[in-house]
């Protein structure tokens, strides 16, 4: 594997706050890499630094091993898909996709450009919409035009700033699958920004979790979900129960009416408050002996609990989340 994009202690200080606070990352060629974090944690700022729209206060950005900090955006070989797509309203779909080729490949003939645009439009299933204006196509189509416009230039890295958030939920899930499929097909490195943990977990080869301008953890979705190193990461990626001072995911907690025989050290008694039906499972809410709330995920085809029932919860030591970080 080789690194295509590297951030070294990248920092962006705005007059009133430090939006990006010394982050370091190495992204491999061909990877689908997600940057996940809550709104306002500095994701967009990081992307704008990589694209060149902002200048870093400190740190370095390397593309293929060469620093690009001194280069203006129009000389960096990265592409950006903007949050609201930013399609040129005065140009047709075809002209939008051809815009970058005309600027970046001045030596190509009209025919060569036409062929490339046609291929990109076909890839994004936009045939027949060439002559439309952005105002005359749907949200999903706009997004595909934005993708085609950047991909046609074959950038070293494609930066995507919450590209799915402007779509309605049904379309969002469908586009998620298409996006992953597309990335595999074109083989271009994606740096995907999102505040939706489900998107990050389902799409990424690797991901970074960001909080308050700092990267808290980097790893595969499985690593980050199952072995979060900070409390923030654990809670941002899913539910966490804090039992006897250790974190355990709802699906790792077991529940029964009788006290489990082995290993009573890790069992706590409590009372059921109620349950929430979620379709694929049920979340039972209980209050444990010391007043701690606890959520347990169960399969309701096996068993069910009613409010007021006395229960015992327990777990395997292997399922305890290995949180060591002191960050809050």
């Amino acid at each position: 594997m080789n690194t295509v994009l590297e951030l070294r202690s990248l920092t962006k200080q705005y007059p009133d706050q430090r939006a990006v606070d010394g982050i370091s990352l190495a992204i491999e060629r061909g990877e689908f890499f997600s940057l996940l974090g809550p709104s306002g944690c500095g994701k967009t700022t990081t992307l704008r630094l990589v694209a060149g729209f902002e200048e870093p206060t400190e740190g370095d950005i390397l593309l293929n091993g060469h620093s690009v900090v001194a280069l203006p955006p129009f000389r960096r070989n990265v592409g950006t898909v903007f949050q609201n797509y930013a399609l040129f309203p005065h140009l047709t779909v075809f002209e939008n996709v051809a815009f970058g080729l005309r600027r970046r490949r001045p030596n190509e003939t009209v025919d060569q450009i036409r062929q490339k645009v046609d291929r990109a439009l076909a890839l994004m299933q936009l045939r027949g919409k060439e002559k439309r204006r952005p105002s005359e196509i749907s949200g999903g189509e706009k997004q595909r035009v934005a993708l085609a416009r950047s991909l046609v230039l074959e950038p070293q890295v494609l930066l995507l700033d919450e590209p799915l958030s402007a779509l309605d939920p049904k379309l969002r899930k469908q586009m998620r699958i298409e996006l992953k499929e597309l990335q595999r097909r074109v083989g271009i490195t994606f740096l995907f920004i999102t505040h939706d943990e489900e998107e990050a977990l389902s799409l990424s080869d690797r991901m970074a979790v960001m909080n308050k301008g700092v990267i808290e953890q980097v790893g595969t979705p499985r690593e980050v979900y199952s072995t979060p190193t900070t409390r923030f990461v654990a809670e941002f990626l899913g539910g966490v129960n804090w039992l006897n001072g250790v974190g355990i995911r709802p699906e790792a907690v077991r529940m029964s009416r009788t006290k489990p025989r082995d290993d009573d050290r890790r069992s706590i008694e409590g009372v059921v408050n109620g349950s929430t039906f979620l379709g694929h499972c049920v979340h039972v809410h209980a209050t444990l002996a010391s007043g701690i709330p606890c959520v347990v995920e169960i399969d309701d085809r096996m068993t069910s609990f009613s409010p007021g029932e006395a229960i015992h919860v327990w777990w395997h030591p292997a399922d305890e989340l290995p949180i060591t970080g002191t960050r809050q």
Binding site: A51, G52, F53, P72, P73, F74, V78, G79, T80, F82, Q83, N84, A86, L87, F88, P89, H90, F99, G100, R103, R104, R149, S150, L153
Partner: protein, 275 residues
């Protein structure tokens, strides 16, 4: 409900009919009558006033009005576009700059035009300074020529170009400029391929707002042109004063109106949602 509506609309109708339609009809009637001995109009009815406009003397004046207005409008666009772009991108200080653009409106146009005369005349500030520095031997002919008129018109109507341009440029999504750069366009290319095409409506509106009053201007050519640069406005004014030919003055002013309306139609057809 219907009655209430009528009451609220009544003042508007009254003003429009009494102060616009009626005078308009009077002017129409005058233009078809003959000249009275001491001004005013008398019978018989005639079309002669309209035919006289095609006299080469008056066609020259018409042509001069058109080209001086066109050149002034072009200068306004050339100066106004960068200014509007600068104001639109000035962030928090936008309002301040916008107020500065409108500051001249706080003083009478007449006084401001006189101020230009004091600057430009042979014993004016500019010539005095140039001569004091021995850069010129004799005063430069800065006043009483076409150049001075164009300068005065550009100065007077620049805000009318800047404001509509500002309104369009301010609405321009900054992400589009980022997108252009991201796709390889330098700032200069971005200007020509994104900013200029997207501010076309503002440019058209601004050009109309400048060109139309320029075409009818009489104060500026009168004062800064010194009677040598006669434009349509001066011609009309003359007919009602020294020449005492009200019917001809009416005919010329109606032709000016038709010219402007025709121009508006032409532009409005191209730009549906203009103004």
């Amino acid at each position: 409900m219907q009655r209430l509506r009528a009451w609220f609309l009544a003042p508007g109708y009254l003003v429009t009919v009494g102060l616009f339609a009626v005078p308009m009809l009077i002017v129409c009637a005058y233009s078809l009558l003959s000249r009275g001995p001491y001004g005013g109009v008398t019978t018989p009815w005639t079309l002669e006033n309209y035919l006289r406009v095609f006299d080469p003397l008056y066609l020259t004046i018409l042509w001069r009005s058109v080209w001086i207005s066109a050149v002034s409008t072009a200068f306004c666009l050339l100066l106004g576009f960068p200014l509007a772009l600068f104001v639109a991108r000035a962030g928090k200080r936008r309002t301040l700059f916008l107020n500065l653009v409108m500051l001249p409106f706080w003083t009478s146009f007449l006084i401001r035009t006189y101020a230009w005369m004091f600057l430009l005349r042979d014993t004016g500030l500019i010539n005095t300074v140039l001569q004091a520095l021995h850069l010129t031997g004799a005063p430069l002919p800065l006043l009483f020529n076409n150049g001075a008129v164009i300068l005065g018109l550009v100065y007077g109507y620049l805000p009318f170009m800047v404001l509509p341009l500002y309104a369009t440029l301010e609405k321009l999504d900054p992400a589009l400029l980022d997108a252009a750069q991201d796709l390889g366009a330098s700032p200069w290319v971005t200007l020509w391929t994104v900013i200029v095409p997207l501010s076309k409506t503002g440019m058209m509106a601004g050009c109309l707002l400048v060109f139309i009053p320029c075409l009818g201007a009489y104060l500026t050519p009168d004062l800064l042109g010194g009677g040598k640069t006669v434009m349509i406005g001066n011609l009309v004014q003359n007919q009602f004063t020294t020449a005492r030919d009200w019917p001809f003055g009416s005919a010329v002013s109606l032709l000016l109106l038709i010219l402007v309306l025709g121009l508006l139609r032409l532009v409005a057809r191209k730009e549906e949602n203009l103004l």
